[in-house]
C-alpha cells in the first residue's frame, strides 16, 4: 500500500472537502475486487455470475467518474459523453453476457444436476 495514498484517503474522508474522481475510483476498485473475490471463491455458478456483474459494475463506475462534469478537477479533462456512452455499452454487453452465461449454467444444470463449478472440470487437461 502506498503511504502516499493512505495519506490522501484519510484527509479526504475526514475533511469531506469535495468529491473527486479518485473517490469514485476507490469505489470502483472495491466493487471490482469484491467481484473478483466472488468469482474466485463462490462455488455456485450463479455466485460467479454475480461476481462478474460486480466487476463490470466497478468498471462502469470508473467510466462514469471519468465522464462526469461534476467531478472534473481544475485543469483536468473529462471524457464527456463518450464516457457515458461507453458505460451504456458496458451495461448492454453485461446484459447480453449474463443471458448467455445463465443459459450455459442452466444447460449445465440440466445435464449434471448441479451448479457447483468445481464439478465442471470436464475440460481439465
Amino acid at each position: 500500500m502506498n503511504p502516499v495514498a493512505l495519506g490522501t484517503i484519510v484527509p479526504l474522508m475526514a475533511v469531506a472537502d469535495g468529491v473527486s474522481v479518485s473517490h469514485y475510483l476507490v469505489v470502483g476498485a472495491i466493487l471490482f475486487t469484491a467481484g473478483i473475490v466472488c468469482m474466485a471463491v463462490k462455488r455456485n455458478a450463479l455466485g460467479v455470475l454475480m461476481g462478474i456483474e460486480l466487476v463490470l459494475n466497478g468498471a462502469n463506475v470508473n467510466f462514469v467518474a471519468f465522464a462526469s462534469p461534476y467531478l472534473r478537477g481544475q485543469g483536468a479533462t473529462s471524457l464527456g459523453i463518450d464516457g457515458q456512452v461507453i458505460a451504456l455499452f458496458v451495461i448492454l454487453l453485461a446484459a447480453a453476457e449474463a443471458a448467455v452465461a445463465l443459459a450455459i449454467t442452466l444447460a449445465f444444470y440440466n445435464n449434471h444436476a448441479t451448479v457447483d463449478v468445481d464439478r465442471a472440470d470436464d475440460l481439465k487437461g
Binding site: V117, A120, L123, K124, G125
Partner: protein, 783 residues
C-alpha cells in the same frame, strides 16, 4: 569366251558350289529328309558339281595348252626358260584399297591350279560318298561310350549328321579358295578358314575331352605357324607394297592402264633372266640410311650397287622363311607336327580328306606356289626341316599300335618328303608326290576307316586275319601300301608312288652330289624309304594277315557296304595309275611343267647365310647315273623294309616283343613319341598356366582384396554413419520430441478445469504484470 574369262568362271563356280551347300545345310540341314539324311546328298551334289566344273576347266586347259612331251625326254635341254609359265590372273572383288595396298579376292590360274582343283574335288567326292555311309550312326540318337558323365553312365545325345556335311562343305570351299587365290592376303584368309574347319571337324565329337582338346591343339599350333606367316606377309607388304602373285593392270591416274608388277615379277624380273634377286623395294627398305643421303635422281642408279653390297637379302630371307613358318604349322612339320596325330580324334572321313590329302597339303602347295620368291637359303632350311620331320615321324610310326596313328605319322613323314623335295630344288618332284600321296593316303585312311567300322576298335593288336572277311578292303589297302612304298618294277613301271618317290630320291641325290656338305639329306630320304616300307607293311600284316588276335573282334568283322567300298576302288585306280604317262604324252609331271615358275628350270646357285649352294636343274636328275642310283636305292630300301616287316609280322621269325626288349630305351623313346608333347607341355603350357595362375591370383588376391577392402571400408563407414544417424541425429530429434511431450504433459497439469483457479491465475497474473510494469517503467506510474 576365251580361256582367260572361261577358266575363272568355271573354277570360280567350282569354288563357290560347296559354299552354297554349306549355307543350305546351315539353314535347312535338320529338315533335309529324316534326321537330315539328305544333307549328304546336297553336299555330295555340290562337290560333284565342283568336280565336273574342274574337269571341264581341265579339259579346256588341255585343249588350249596341250601337254607336250617333256623336253628332256628328247635329250634336248632347250634354252633357259625365259618366259614364265602360262597363267591367268585377275581380281573378282577389291575388299580394300588404301594407298598402294590392294586387298582383293582374285585368282591365279595355271596348270597347277587346275590340277589341284581336280585332285581336291575328286578326293572330296570320294570321301563325301564314303562318309554318307560311314556316318550313318549320326542319323539317330547316339550313346557315346567315350564320354563319361559325372553321375556315371555315358552321354546320350541326338545325332549330328547334317552338321558333318555342313563342315565338310565349308572345308571344301576354303581349300579351293587357297588353291585359286591370286594373292597372299586371300591365301591367309582361307588359310585361317581351313584351320577353323579343321577345328570343327576334329572336334566333331566335342563332348569327348580328347576330341575337344585335340581340336584346340590343332588350332593353336597352327596359329603359332601363322604368326611366322604374318611376319612374312608384313615383310613383303612393307617392302614391296603388294601381295599379288602375278602382274596386274590397273587404270592409272591419267587413264592409261599401268602394269603393277606382282611378287613373282618383282623377285624374278625378266630383266635379270628370271633369276632370283632381291627386289628394288627391299633393297631400298634395307638401305634406308643410304637412301636418305642420296638425292632422288641418283637412286635408280645406285640400287644395283646396294644390291650387290647385300642390302635387303635378309629381308627376302625373312619373307620366305615367314611364309614357310605358316606351312610348317599347316603341314605338320617339325617342330609343329604334334597336332596331326591327335587330329585323328575326328571321324575317319575327316582324317582322310583334311588331314592327309588336302589341308595338310596346302602347306606344300603354298611352298610350291611361292617357290619363285624363295631364296636358296630358305630352300635349304625347308629341306632340313623336311628331313628332320621325315625321320622323326617315321621312327614314331614304327611302334604305334593305333592304326590311324600309324597313318597320321606316315602323313607327317611323307609331308617331310615333299618339303625336302621342294627344298633341294625338286619343284616338280615335290608337287608330283603331293598329288600321288593325296590319292594313296586318302585311300589308306578310308580303308582304315573301313577296318575300324568293322572291328569297332583302332588297336591293331586286336586285329589280324581280316583279309578273309574283308577282301575288298584288304586288297585296296595292299595297293595303297605298295603305292606309298613306291613299289614297282625298276626302270619299267610302277604304282604312282614309285614315280614320285623316284623323282624325289633322284633330285636329293643330285643335290647331294652338287653340295657334298649336305649329303645327309639323301641319306635321310633313303632311310626314310626303308622305314616307310617297314611300318606300312607292319600295319598291313598286323591288320590283315595271320590269325586273328582277338576273337571277339574277328567274329564281328564284316566287309563294308558298297557305298564305302566304291570310293576305295576309285581311289585305288588312281593310286595305281596316277604316275603313268598316257599315250599322247599326258602325265602329271608333264602337266606340272606347264606351271613351272620362270627361271627355275635350270637350277639355282647362291645363298649367303649357309655358304654357297648349288641347286641342280631338275631335269638333270632324270637321266644318267643319278637316275639309276636313285631308282636302285629306292627299290632296295623298300624291299628291305618289306622283308623285315614280313620277318617280324608275317612269318613271325623275329619276335617284335623281343626286339622291343633288346632295344628297350629306344623303344620307350619311340613309344613316347620322342616326348615332344611332354616337352611342349613343360616349355609352353606350364609357363602359360603359371602366368595365368599368377594373373588370376593377383586378380583374386590383390585386386579383389583391394576392392573388397574398399567395399568393407565403405560398409564400415556406412555402419558408422548409420550409428550416428540413429543415435545422434535420431536421438536428438527424439529427445526434442520427448522433451516437448513431457513439457506438454507437465503443462497440461495447469489445466485443471477448475474455474476458480483460472480466475485466481488471471488475477495473480494481472497483479504481477502491474508490479513488474511499475518497477520497470517508473516514469508512468510515478505518483
Amino acid at each position: 569366251m576365251d580361256l582367260s574369262a572361261q577358266l575363272p568362271l568355271l573354277l570360280g563356280l567350282a569354288w563357290l558350289a560347296p559354299l552354297v551347300s554349306f549355307v543350305a545345310i546351315l539353314f535347312f540341314g535338320p529338315k533335309m529328309g529324316p534326321h537330315g539324311r539328305n544333307a549328304a546328298w546336297v553336299a555330295t551334289a555340290a562337290i560333284v558339281t565342283s568336280l565336273v566344273l574342274s574337269l571341264l576347266a581341265a579339259g579346256n586347259w588341255l585343249a588350249a595348252h596341250p601337254v607336250e612331251v617333256s623336253h628332256h625326254a628328247a635329250g634336248d635341254h632347250g634354252g633357259p626358260h625365259t618366259v614364265g609359265p602360262v597363267a591367268y590372273a585377275g581380281d573378282w572383288y577389291t575388299l580394300y584399297r588404301g594407298g598402294d595396298l590392294r586387298l582383293s579376292i582374285g585368282w591365279y590360274i595355271d596348270a597347277l591350279t587346275v590340277l589341284m582343283f581336280v585332285v581336291v574335288t575328286f578326293i572330296a567326292t570320294c570321301i563325301h560318298v564314303y562318309a554318307s555311309g560311314y556316318m550313318h550312326d549320326e542319323l539317330h540318337d547316339v550313346t557315346d561310350h567315350e564320354v563319361h558323365l559325372s553321375g556315371g553312365g555315358h552321354l546320350h545325345r541326338p545325332g549330328r549328321f547334317p552338321r558333318f556335311f555342313q563342315a565338310l562343305s565349308l572345308f571344301c570351299f576354303s581349300m579351293l579358295g587357297i588353291v585359286i587365290a591370286g594373292n597372299l592376303a586371300m591365301v591367309f584368309i582361307f588359310w585361317e578358314l581351313v584351320g577353323i574347319c579343321s577345328w570343327f571337324l576334329i572336334g566333331f565329337y566335342y563332348e569327348r575331352k580328347s576330341a575337344s582338346t585335340a581340336a584346340n591343339k590343332a588350332f593353336i599350333v597352327n596359329r603359332v605357324g601363322d604368326f611366322g606367316m604374318l611376319i612374312g606377309l608384313m615383310a613383303l607388304w612393307g617392302a614391296l607394297g603388294t601381295l599379288q602373285f602375278a602382274d596386274s593392270t590397273v587404270p592409272g591416274a591419267d587413264g592409261a592402264a599401268t602394269v603393277r608388277p606382282g611378287l613373282f615379277s618383282l623377285v624374278r624380273p625378266a630383266t635379270n633372266g628370271h633369276a632370283i634377286q632381291v627386289p628394288d623395294g627391299m633393297v631400298k627398305f634395307a638401305a634406308a640410311a643410304e637412301l636418305a643421303k642420296t638425292p632422288a635422281g641418283d637412286v635408280a642408279g645406285k640400287i644395283d650397287t646396294w644390291r650387290s653390297m647385300g642390302f635387303g637379302r635378309w629381308l627376302l630371307f625373312i619373307a620366305g622363311l615367314g611364309i614357310f613358318c605358316g606351312c610348317v604349322g599347316k603341314s605338320a612339320q617339325f617342330p609343329l607336327f604334334v597336332w596331326l596325330p591327335d587330329a585323328m580324334e575326328g571321324p575317319t572321313p575327316v582324317s582322310a580328306l583334311v588331314h592327309s590329302a588336302t589341308m595338310v597339303a596346302a602347306g606344300v602347295y603354298l611352298v610350291g606356289r611361292f617357290y619363285p620368291v624363295l631364296t636358296p637359303d630358305v630352300l635349304l632350311v625347308i629341306a632340313y626341316v623336311g628331313a628332320i620331320t621325315l625321320f622323326i615321324a617315321a621312327t614314331i610310326a614304327l611302334v604305334a599300335n593305333d592304326i590311324k596313328r600309324v597313318l597320321a605319322y606316315s602323313t607327317v613323314s611323307q609331308l617331310g618328303y615333299m618339303m625336302l623335295a621342294l627344298g633341294v630344288g625338286g619343284w616338280s618332284a615335290g608337287l608330283f608326290h603331293l598329288v600321288t600321296h593325296a590319292f594313296f593316303k586318302s585311300l589308306l585312311f578310308l580303308c582304315s576307316g573301313s577296318v575300324i567300322h568293322a572291328c569297332h576298335t583302332n588297336d591293331m593288336r586286336k586285329m589280324g586275319g581280316l583279309a578273309r572277311v574283308m577282301p575288298w578292303t584288304a586288297g585296296t589297302m595292299l595297293v595303297g601300301c605298295l603305292a606309298i612304298i613306291g613299289a614297282g618294277i625298276p626302270f619299267v613301271a610302277g604304282l604312282s608312288g614309285y614315280y614320285s618317290k623316284d623323282a624325289i630320291l633322284a633330285q636329293a641325290l643330285s643335290f647331294s652330289r652338287a653340295n657334298p656338305a649336305h649329303s645327309i639329306l639323301f641319306l635321310a630320304v633313303a632311310g626314310g624309304a626303308f622305314l616307310t616300307a617297314f611300318y606300312m607293311f607292319r600295319l598291313w600284316f598286323m591288320t590283315f594277315a595271320g590269325e586273328p588276335r582277338d576273337h571277339h573282334v574277328a567274329e564281328h568283322a564284316h566287309e563294308s557296304p558298297t557305298v564305302m567300298v566304291a570310293p576305295l576302288v576309285a581311289l585305288t585306280v588312281l593310286a595305281v595309275a596316277a604316275g603313268w604317262t598316257l599315250p599322247g604324252g599326258f602325265s602329271l609331271p608333264n602337266l606340272l611343267e606347264q606351271a613351272r615358275p620362270a627361271g627355275t628350270a635350270e637350277g639355282m646357285a647362291g645363298g649367303f647365310a649357309f655358304g654357297s649352294l648349288v641347286f641342280p636343274a631338275e631335269h638333270e636328275s632324270h637321266e644318267g647315273a643319278v637316275h639309276v642310283t636313285a631308282t636302285l636305292t629306292a627299290f632296295s630300301t623298300a624291299l628291305a623294309g618289306v622283308l623285315l616287316a614280313a620277318l617280324m609280322y608275317l612269318w613271325r621269325i623275329v619276335s617284335p616283343a623281343v626286339v622291343a626288349t633288346i632295344f628297350k630305351p629306344a623303344y620307350a623313346f619311340l613309344a613316347g613319341r620322342w616326348y615332344f608333347d611332354e616337352l611342349y607341355h613343360a616349355l609352353f603350357v606350364v609357363p602359360v598356366l603359371g602366368v595365368a595362375q599368377l594373373a588370376s591370383g593377383t586378380d583374386r588376391g590383390v585386386i579383389d582384396r583391394i576392392i573388397d577392402g574398399l567395399a568393407w571400408a565403405a560398409r564400415q563407414l556406412a555402419g558408422i554413419d548409420a550409428w550416428i544417424d540413429r543415435t545422434i541425429v535420431d536421438g536428438l530429434v527424439n529427445a526434442t520430441a520427448r522433451a516437448t511431450w513431457s513439457a506438454g504433459l507437465e503443462l497440461k497439469k495447469l489445466q485443471t478445469g477448475h474455474l476458480r483457479q483460472y480466475v485466481m491465475f488471471i488475477v495473480v497474473g494481472t497483479v504481477a504484470l502491474f508490479v513488474l510494469a511499475s518497477l520497470l517503467f517508473r516514469t508512468t506510474m510515478a505518483g
